[in-house]
């Protein structure tokens, strides 16, 4: 069985809600049934086959071709299977994802991996603000799983993050790890201003020294035993994080945010 492939016929002006096109919702449906499903396109509803050419039949492997930044909610609450996106993706990619794998060859928009629970998201390009964050008004962001960004991330990475790993090979914007409750954010590039703002627990693992905020306290240089285990868990990823050269266990530890619980940490590679 070849992958169920949706090739976008034309770029529409209004945003498209792609949430019906996830593996668990398409299981058992024929391509003709899938073509007849309706997607929200702005205020209107349009048939899937009016937007996409459909080929293949394996609903556990979905490919979205010619994708661009107005296709929102790709992989929303994905429970099983794989989705590959050729091109860019819009906002809310992998929103509330429960398991499985999403790969994007391009960039993604706001709120990528927002409130994600489990699984793996790999982004070859850049991603927008609130990566792994919580929906506005909610207090729990990403709760598990791993997000790998090979490019750069926007502001507020891991806002209200509760558990899981966010791995960024490039740079992260301002307020990285803001209001974080737990979990790990690793950034190989540079970070912006106000890292760990209002962070309660969790770990920011940085390759480059940040502008350490005043409400983080320097705890000195340390060799931490959990870091080799953490890096070992990245070994299967197709990423710079899995390379032996990326591994280290010697860090400078800053504890904070002291205006919150102060049990979070910024670990900077020495």
């Amino acid at each position: 069985m070849s992958a169920l492939t949706f090739s976008l016929k034309r770029r529409v002006d209004q945003r498209v809600d792609m949430s019906p096109l996830v593996c668990q919702k398409l299981t058992g449906l024929d391509p003709s049934d899938i073509g007849a499903l309706e997607l929200h396109n702005g205020k209107a509803k349009v048939r899937v086959d009016s937007l996409f050419d459909i080929s293949g039949s394996d609903t556990q492997k979905i490919v979205i071709k010619n994708s661009y930044e107005k296709l929102d909610f790709i992989g929303k609450e994905l429970e099983t299977g794989e989705i590959s996106v050729i091109g860019d993706a819009g906002a809310y990619l992998g929103l509330g994802m429960k398991s499985g794998l999403i790969r994007i060859s391009g960039n993604t928009g706001l709120f990528t991996a927002c409130e994600m629970k489990k699984g793996l998201i790999e982004i070859d390009g850049n991603t927008g603000d609130f990566l792994g964050g919580a929906l506005p008004g909610n207090k729990m962001g990403m709760k598990g799983g791993t997000v790998l960004v090979k490019g750069n991330a926007g502001d507020r990475v891991g806002d209200h993050m509760r558990r899981g790993n966010i791995l960024i090979e490039g740079n992260a914007g301002d307020y990285c790890g803001s209001r974080m409750t737990a979990g790990t954010i690793a950034v190989m590039g540079q970070t912006g201003k106000h890292v760990g703002y209002a962070m309660r627990r969790g770990t920011l693992l940085l390759w480059n020294g940040p502008q350490v905020p005043a409400n983080f306290n320097d705890c000195g240089a340390h060799t931490l035993a959990f870091l080799p285990l953490l890096f070992k868990s990245f070994k299967t990823l197709n990423s710079a994080f899995s390379e032996p050269a990326a591994m280290f266990n010697r860090v400078r530890r800053y504890a904070g945010d002291m205006s919150e619980m102060g049990r979070g940490e910024i670990l900077v590679k020495i």
């Binding site: 035993a225 959990f226 285990l229 070992k232 940490e265």
Partner: protein, 298 residues
């Protein structure tokens, strides 16, 4: 059955069901991992008085441990899950948490999960940090030499305790030399421990006692100095008897250990004063697992 002049009695060792767990202790080097492991498995020879039976299974190469440091694998056996959990926690807290540079990991992935470092974390007094890595929860407990890293839980499985055999020799040095040879070979078998000091028991016991407060007492039938006083099981030339007790994850593991152990004893043979191999047999009342010596050596 006679092997190299050594008579293998037509009898069986009786063993009973236990609960078991395994923990991996790592440290900066093998010396400190071993120090911690020896402390953790100290005073754990018999469930009768120690609450558990524990021993060092083997030394682990750095490539075999979760954190890539040298390590030691220890196993703990107890009569029930509650007792096992209690002993594990007490020993981990007193002997691994306190030991310089140590880290503690689960040695069994399956089975029922019991606390390893889950409750030790409170030693961190609120400064402890949790990390969930590859589905396993770890605790980072700040201690004076840095951080004590421990996995939260380990697996508890059904196991077998009390496998044994007796070495009957013409003299005490000969009995001990044979047991030492047996232990050296048996330590190469995975999934088993020989919990007594050096793996050898000089005080084999029978069930019951003339004293009401005791559940077990000296095995007078095998005490050489009582040959003329009791219903002895010893021939006149036997001057010393020693026992090797084996706990294992499965009956098959104990079978293997007994086979290599008895073979090592028999290799010394009658010319080194080894006369008989027998076993602790309590008429089938002690436990459901029976290890028939002649079947094992067949």
């Amino acid at each position: 059955m006679i092997i190299n002049g050594v008579t293998i009695d037509q009898t069986f060792a009786e063993a009973f069901p236990m609960k078991a767990t395994r923990a991996i202790i790592t440290a900066q080097n093998e010396k400190w991992a071993m120090i911690s492991a020896q402390a953790m498995t100290g005073f754990a020879t018999s469930v009768i008085a120690c609450g558990c039976e524990a021993g060092i299974e083997r030394v682990l190469d750095a490539s075999e441990t979760p954190d890539g440091r040298p390590g030691v694998s220890v196993m703990i056996f107890a009569m029930g899950g509650k007792g096992l959990a209690k002993q594990l926690e007490t020993r981990a807290g007193q002997c691994v948490l306190t030991s310089p540079t140590s880290a503690l990991f689960a040695g069994i992935d399956g089975g029922t999960r019991i606390a390893l470092g889950k409750n030790l974390r409170y030693f961190g007094d609120g400064f402890q940090v949790s990390k969930l890595i590859s589905g396993k929860r770890y605790w980072r407990i700040p201690v004076m030499d840095g951080e004590f890293l421990t996995e939260a839980t380990t697996g508890q499985v059904d196991a077998v305790g009390g496998g044994n055999f007796l070495v009957l020799a013409e003299s005490q040095p000969q009995a001990l030399a044979a047991c030492e040879a047996a232990i050296e070979e048996m330590r190469k078998i995975p999934n088993v421990i020989m919990p007594f000091p050096g793996g050898v028991v000089r005080s084999g016991s029978k069930v019951g006692s003339k004293y009401k407060s005791l559940g077990a007492s000296t095995n007078d039938a095998f005490c050489p100095t009582l040959k003329g006083m009791t219903k002895t099981d010893l021939s006149p030339e036997i001057e010393s008897v020693m026992e090797i007790v084996i706990d294992g994850l499965t009956k098959e593991d104990i079978d293997k250990a007994m086979r290599v152990g008895i073979q090592a004893v028999c290799d010394l043979g009658a010319e080194n004063g080894i006369k008989r191999i027998s076993a602790g047999n309590y008429g089938g009342k002690l436990g459901p697992f029976h290890f028939h010596l002649q079947e094992i050596m067949a």
